[in-house]
């Protein structure tokens, strides 16, 4: 138990960082996922192609490689920098960007499958009363689609929360050089090789605390907001 008294605050800080990664990536991937889904069902062919190309490319590339590209390609080569002076802050936002783009392709596909569950008659009725594509999508189709995909969407968000661990690829840390969860677990295991199991259990339980509420909330919300048909 010495470990907890010694490293407790560091572990909490690392989970705080993981939580922040998950929070921002969650928001951006949902927004970007909705945009991609709209692209993919839009009447404009070029937008459909762009949406399909983005989804196809990022879904078939490992997240580790996407992270790698964010740092070495986007930041070092293309000069995209979220913070010129603070390397750790730049790495944080690059990780958020990589996670958001990667996750948004899954959000997009989940939403698209949700749109497919909306009965044809709904969309036909919307068109019959003269709604345009945008109105149809915004007022009739998307609200129903969103409510039918709460559970799979939660699975995507839970996976994304677990995926924050891959941010270790580009070394996401805080100002005081505390790593996000996976990097911190690695450091602790290297230092305390006699307490590996305890360290693992602490971090495993940490992730359960982060992800279980999402699942429970989704279960409740999908019943609460289910579309009665």
């Amino acid at each position: 138990m010495d470990l907890i008294s010694e490293s407790g605050s560091i572990i909490l800080t690392s989970f705080g960082l993981t939580l922040r990664l998950a929070f921002f990536s969650g928001i951006f991937s949902l927004l970007l996922g909705v945009v991609l889904a709209i692209f993919r069902v839009s009447p404009v062919p070029v937008l459909r192609w762009v949406g399909a190309a983005v989804v196809y490319t990022f879904r078939n590339t490992p997240l580790t490689l996407v992270m790698f590209f964010a740092l070495f390609g986007l930041s070092y080569q293309l000069g995209l920098s979220f913070d010129e002076d603070l390397i750790w802050r730049n790495a944080f936002w690059l990780a958020v960007l990589a996670l958001s783009v990667y996750t948004s392709t899954f959000v997009c596909e989940v939403l698209r499958s949700g749109i497919n569950t909306v009965p044809l008659g709904q969309a036909e009725a919307a068109r019959a009363i003269g709604l345009t594509f945008t109105q149809n999508l915004r007022l009739v189709v998307l609200p129903q689609a969103l409510r039918s995909v709460i559970n799979p969407l939660a699975s995507v968000i839970i996976a994304m929360t677990k995926n924050t661990t891959v941010a270790v690829t580009i070394g996401v840390t805080t100002a005081s050089m505390v790593n996000e969860a996976s990097g911190q677990m690695k450091t602790l295991m290297e230092k305390n090789s006699d307490q590996i199991l305890l360290i693992f259990i602490i971090f495993a339980v940490g992730f359960m605390i982060l992800t279980l509420p999402i699942g429970f909330f989704a279960g409740w919300a999908s019943k609460r907001f289910a579309v009665a048909r």
Partner: protein
């Protein structure tokens, strides 16, 4: 279907508008592509000397092919073990003996809920720390892949069995088969057939997740980027080539999944629905599976 219900066949005005939108969208795409191209050009990423190594044998012999083999061997061993793990725990979880089903459920839920990278790191460090063995990164990666993907596969198989009509097992019991026999000779074969597309989709995830080995310095494809860069100073071209290789490998597996799905649909060998269904258990299993993994 979605595309056609959302809007009418375009009339003259809509057609003209669509042209305008298409042109604007195309302009934005070209503009972004131009920025990327010219920035890479500034730092000399398109120089012939940076790309030439990929046209020559040594880079392939020394780096890319060993990398592909590293990735594929982790994938091959990992998928065989994950499938075995999936079957054992799917059957275990469906057992009527609580003493078997509860521990199976706990194992499956536990490995599904923690990040695979943490699992791999734990296995890697525990090899020497807890068991006094030489740490072997290949097995750390493979066992990590097995435990996570095996758990997801167990859920997919279980969902496949649940999606079968009740009459299937009732008929088995009626002719005097035991529970194990019903599972083995009636339920599992049908469930596997109907879930084959989802199972292969999960194998695509497993293939992508081998890239997590990069973080543990396992000698897979992603690790070759740094090695090639060390020799030819061409990080970005190497990363682009490796990304393309991943896309090719995943596309091939994806095509296999589509082919299998089309075949299974055509030749009905199962009473269950093919691939994904409206069954929430299946949806969650496959949705979790998709990005699920990690990398």
């Amino acid at each position: 279907m979605s595309a056609s219900v959302l809007y009418d066949a375009p009339g003259p005005r809509a057609k003209a508008l669509n042209w305008v939108y298409s042109a604007v969208a195309l302009a934005v795409v070209v503009w972004v592509a131009w920025i990327v191209y010219s920035k890479f050009d500034e730092t000399g990423q398109w120089d012939a000397e940076k790309w030439k190594p990929f046209l020559e044998a040594p880079v392939w012999e020394n780096f890319l092919i060993p990398g592909i083999l590293g990735t594929l061997s982790a994938f091959a061993v990992g998928s065989v073990l994950a499938l075995a793990f999936g079957f054992v725990f799917a059957v275990g979880r469906m057992s009527t003996h609580k003493i078997v089903s509860i521990p199976s459920a706990v194992v499956v839920e536990f490995f599904r809920s923690i990040p695979m990278l943490l699992l791999m790191m734990f296995i890697y460090f525990s090899q020497s720390g807890m068991f006094g063995l030489q740490s072997d990164v290949f097995w750390a990666v493979v066992i990590g892949l097995t435990l996570y993907n095996g758990s997801v596969l167990a859920e997919i198989i279980r969902a496949g069995v649940h999606a079968l009509p009740k009459g299937q097992s009732e008929a088995g019991f009626a002719i005097g088969l035991s529970q194990g026999q019903v599972m083995r000779s009636i339920l599992l074969p049908q469930a596997v057939r109907s879930m084959l597309p989802a199972i292969i989709a999960q194998l695509v995830v497993l293939l992508k997740d081998t890239a997590l080995g990069y973080i543990l310095a396992y000698d897979e494809l992603l690790n070759q980027i740094n090695k090639i860069d060390g020799n030819f100073n061409n990080l970005i071209p190497a990363a682009i080539v490796v990304a393309l290789l991943y896309i090719v490998m995943n596309t091939i597996l994806g095509l296999v999944a589509n082919f299998v799905e089309a075949r299974t649909r055509r030749v009905a060998h199962t009473a269950g629905p093919v691939g994904t269904t409206q069954d929430p258990a299946v949806q969650t299993a496959t949705a979790a599976g998709m990005p699920g993994g990690t990398a």
